[in-house]
Subunit: 328 residues, 6 copies
């Protein structure tokens, strides 16, 4: 739907396309002439924009976080590209494809959420089952759970990314409990489903991904602790020690103090869950780095989350045919 | 009241005195003969004890955490001192001075708690005032607050130590807010009064100081977060953002991730409170190290909390008279 | 077969039992009288022993690493227990159960090795298949692989522990490749089977577990790199880049420089394998700590490998019945 | 007085205003034509400048660190703004307001210095009193003390900043000694007044703030150690041990090795002074970050000294009226 | 030979000179018009280039890593300089001076290699002598040894730099063995000559210095370990323990885990060699930083390898004549 | 001269030999009987001693730091050996060999000091020459320089050890300056001779090696800074910048903040000197560890200074004859 993305604009280019209004204000030149200053964005970046004439109506109608249709021309100012706006109006909802403004999972979110509910339904311990059901059935939580990214930049940084990550973890948890009989599957599934619930409100992802003020001051561990604790308190007969165990699973899941866990895992399920969560996240970060063309045929883009580049194995081993039949 | 402390016992010494029962079990020798094995303790340490004859009545009456009167003889076994018990009976409450088993503050706890209530009463913000009052007026909390130590070994590690530490911090907070006008005193006092409330249940200090299981799995930051959050939720009209600020003060007060704070201080009052708390604790640790005779006249005992010894300034400067009249 | 273990000896006890000779020398007293000094061991520890009379024959027959039958008496010398030897003779092989001297896996080693060969046979890539087969079919390697522990103290520190660890990892690798379709199972299996091959010679575990000199100077990563590189060089047509990939899997498997990996994982299979190896090892360490009676009913022994104790979940949650039917 | 600041210049803008000469040289173009190259600065930044014609007189008169009046035009060269100079002359002293070139405290420096002298006068120990007085009464030191910043970028990075910091610390020291009776106020005041004296010469702050070569090679701790040691040696009867104590206060005041203290605080006053100094500096850094408009209404600019942003508490809590009457 | 270097290009400049082709591709404009896109480089940097007309022949002839002669014009595009190519052709070998594209040592490489062979010949231990000779006499190795840099950026980062570094180390080793009689010179020389042999293939330095894929995945320690191990295995009667010692010297030479050594030096020669290697490298890095004009007369450029600038001692002490006669 | 060392005493042994009095006090038993308690020491350790009868005369004559002749019997008390004293008297000077109480260099101290003076005399820069001469010719300094150890435990921890270390460093400095022509030998020699001068008073080594109070509070870097600065100030015309350079050499010689250097080396001579000093110290620590019989034939004792054991190369390579003729 969008005809041009910000990262592709050239100087002296005339454009007519849609943007998100990131900032809006009326300013004055040194000479005292008023003008409208906007910061406009799409999923590829942001650009400064100025409207010099007949901007009064626009200034009244348009606000931060609105989508707008803009006609203008790209110019250089103080060595940075700037959009000189000729015309601007509010976009109609049907003109906007949110995917032009926020990246999103390619998976089917409805199907993923159904899978999540199935995993929840497989929990046999009645207390944990009630807890997980109560949270996933809360319509406000469910709505956010279907949209939330798992992070701003580190991994699964796109709409639906959190759900993808959690469903993957539930699957991995099941495999781990089957392999290591000493592990309780109910606790692993509970940890998987609840461990990032705080991210639903730590991040805001209406029209771009960023942190809420509450998210910055408290973090998702502290935030989900409150949500989950209240849910446990609301369940009659929830055993006190089991409550402590669930709280421990949440607060210890980052595995180390320096990653914001106030306690180290001291229960086997907590230890294992930390590894599984870390592995799933890091592998997703590697996957994301490999999805970007770095210009070097053998290497992925640099992954800031992992502090390294990854080898493109298929390219490096292209001379010989990999023969695992089920994989290639 | 106690006639002998464990750290002073000599081999082949006959004693009759009081101990705390730390462990109790019936065991069998290789030859199949049953005997009663006890671990006995007082504030100076613990000792293995065995009763070989006529222990059946004692074994029935006596349990872990009981105080007992013991007549016996100190012997060496596998190179460690061991008490051979002749007679043992439950101690009567009036025979026991808890101070022989747990160190305690020298300050007047009732007076300290009154001071704490005064500081609480000086909070002018109505929401914070209600919050702090609700917590301090809870009889269960108040009872514990008058007994709790501030730590197992690091600082203020004695009954009443937490209260001493908190009252000192309230005083310091008042001075800091007077000196730095940008700081809000109400927030500093709230932080001082609530920041270690989790220690009331993180530690157990009935007959010795140790960690509860819940304390080990969650830690006092997480524990007080739950208590204080519930108290805020119970206050009608408590502003949501103020709630976030109070929660941030609690979770950030250790100042660094590696000390168990899941978030760094991002509010000035939180930053300053962290410094004041750290300073008051470390100075108390230095004070404790200086109170122990290290055998070196110029130096305190080694402080594990600070990783160093402290100079005895009065001894080192004894040759010249310090003249600050109000100090010496 | 052994009637007494060193950790159970008491002063003044007379014993007749079997030991491993850890050290042997002839010494002289200050007065110039010669005697035989031995250090004797079993799986519970070691003890100093001295034979004062008629030791000449024994001194000739007996050497370090021999098993001996000893009759003697436990005494204290400079405050440490010492065995005064009356008689000593070489033990007959049939008198010795190695398990009294070295802990061993409870699993059936023959069956485990068969499982390992099955995993090896499932590798479909012909080069990797030849590589793994060549190594596992080497009789010298196979013999060691059935005995080697995975570590001296950290995890799986018993005979057969390495095999247990590797077979577990092969199983986990299969699950991981099924869950994450981007991963090549052949590479994961190759990594699992070869990643600790250097431990076969890094450790010596004839009669106790310790490091060889070569093991201390080079470490198992460097040692297996040589073995595996030679095996690859011996396979005609082994692709050069695949060789580099296999070498990278070996050298990066500790995941971080400070754990002795000269390179970080830069291939997805290397990253994932590092996590799986770490998880399997740490979980085994937790299992080992939980197998020891710490005296605290809720807690395991302290695990030096993990720097913490683990909660006994079954004890802590005993009040309510865990209901996952397949687990309890 | 200045009509334009460097950070505000636009391409193709004609300007006539004052600058500091940061660098000056005569260069030749590839074609061999000589021209005058200058780097010009003000408190907002620096800009390259070139004068192509009739620059000979200017080149003779003008030197590095001179203030000049320039008429010229802003152009782009290799994508960076450059000033093409038409005319340049030395500025007259009365045309220059140093504050346009160097930021300065808003406090009254004379009054601050008087306060400092008062604190010094309150020291009752005769030796310390003589020491502090000798240093503060040295006219060269006093002149610098009234101008020096406390740092180049970390905190109080403006003229008079050091004095502000030290006077604040004296006040805090007094409060601390009143609250903790075990502390000697004289030592705390001595530490406060002398602990950064080395900064008078570690930094140079004539026309911009930077480090002297000596400052980089030695640092202010080593530099003030020399100054203060000499002053103590010049006082008759200054006790040797007190000298050691004062030296220890200076060298330990950064509190940790990694911040350049060769010794950790081992005297209580040294420990406490380190905390107070750190707190006063960090709070000033937070204050500075909050003084900058970051564009985000809830957050300060990012503070490099603290590695974080700070919440604007007044904005975040604007919905409810803070009621501490003395603060708002 | 080159008339212009990339770092000196100005906008709107017409040039005719030689470049290395770093990248080549055919692209289409939005309007569908094809053009040739090149990335061109020389030792001063790289520049984007586009050829819009009659590029078909050039596109066929010219490939990545070719040297070309280009006639074109520098323009700005999206604020970055870009070369608009009029004509381009392959350069003739005699037109190219590799030194315009890769920095090189100023020393005489043939002479340096002869010195290296002399050091090798001085090894008296027959096994080590055979080992070192076998490697240095391999023509493929010798050819690379005369060209290889010692690093991409850290130290000796120019053609022949590795040889310079190794010959310097041989000299230092000889001095060290003379000074410390406990050190074996043969082992030190062996370590010096072989310790960076892996860099011959870890880096590629045909037309620029970068890492090979193998180099990134394995690193020079692992790579030279394979080369040297094979060479030892090929020498009849090479003692097994001496082989282990040589391997230890190689793997431990970075001295610490975090610098990629999987083992710490545990032999005195290994410890000393690590120090000598580190010293020679760091001093070279300081030398390189001092060779760059930083604009500050007293200071070198910032050395990223050392994390600091270095004082220009001669400038700082210029006021007094250094009198060591042999040095000045 | 001493007939028995503390580390060799056995229970129930009667001895008559010499000790150093480390502590002395009169104590009372519980029953109120007074006795004399001593702590006695020699170079092998310390032992508690008690004299029960007729100790009054001894208690008057004998003080801490006296050497005494003791007749007594070794007994066990609370499981630790204790000396029951029958007779004790002050030793006569001629009865005492200090070497029984403090380890000392095996080198000829007078010869070593002459070598040091020769190195000093070789400095050609007149200012540095005067500086070094002034310090070495100070009789108080010279006397200490001939006795001081280089450390309490880390390296050269014996009388004369500092001198050994410094003379070795002067030799190494000369070699380094010859090999690297960019280095100024005068500065390296000055650094070598003065860099540990603070240790003359940081340590006390009259009758045992320990730290002085001043040494603990300031450290040798700060202490020698004062001594050397005063010496430079006393030399007429000592250039200011050269003084800064010398001070920098001293304060930076530990090379890193965490080892107590308040500044990193920023002059090449400072960088190199740090490496040489570290190398000489660490090699001495390895030498010391190898001098101790660890019981393992291939390994040295564990070196706490280096955090590892060292291989006994001669033993490990014993099977083949090392042939460097000048070394073996």
């Amino acid at each position: 739907m969008k005809s041009a993305f910000i990262s592709d604009l050239n100087s002296e280019q005339n454009i007519t396309t849609f943007f998100l209004v990131c900032e809006k204000e009326i300013r004055n030149t040194r000479e005292g002439k008023a003008y409208l200053r906007l910061e406009l964005g799409d999923r590829s970046g942001t650009i400064e924009a100025r409207m010099w004439d007949q901007f009064e109506a626009a200034a009244k109608d348009i606000n931060r976080d609105d989508f707008v249709k803009v006609q203008g021309r790209v110019e250089l100012y103080r060595n940075r590209p700037q959009l000189s706006v000729m015309q601007v109006r509010l976009a109609k909802p049907e003109e906007i494809d949110l995917a032009d403004f926020l990246p999103a999972t390619k998976a089917d979110v409805t199907k993923l959420y159904a899978e999540l509910l199935e995993f929840a339904a497989s929990i046999s311990n009645p207390h944990l089952s009630k807890l997980v059901t109560a949270i996933l059935n809360d319509p406000a939580i469910a709505a956010k759970y279907k949209r939330a990214p798992a992070a701003k930049v580190m991994h699964h940084a796109y709409l639906g990314g959190l759900l993808e990550h959690v469903v993957s973890l539930c699957g991995v948890a099941k495999l781990a409990a089957a392999h290591y009989p000493e592990l309780d599957l109910d606790l692993l599934l509970t940890a998987a489903i609840l461990h990032d619930a705080g991210k639903l409100d730590e991040l805001c992802y209406e029209r771009s991904i960023s942190y809420t003020v509450e998210g910055q001051l408290l973090g998702h561990i502290v935030m989900e602790l409150e949500t989950v604790t209240k849910a446990m308190d609301a369940i009659e007969g929830f055993p006190a020690n089991l409550k402590t165990v669930v709280q421990h699973l949440l607060v210890s899941h980052h595995g180390q103090y320096e990653f914001g866990s106030p306690k180290l895992p001291m229960i086997r399920e907590a230890l294992v869950f930390h590894y599984l969560d870390d592995l799933d996240s890091k592998l997703a970060a590697a996957r994301a780095a490999l999805a970007i063309d770095s210009g070097e045929p053998e290497w992925s883009a640099y992954s800031a989350a992992l502090g390294r580049k990854f080898l493109r194995l298929d390219h490096f081993l292209r001379d010989f045919v990999l023969t695992s039949p089920d994989k290639k």
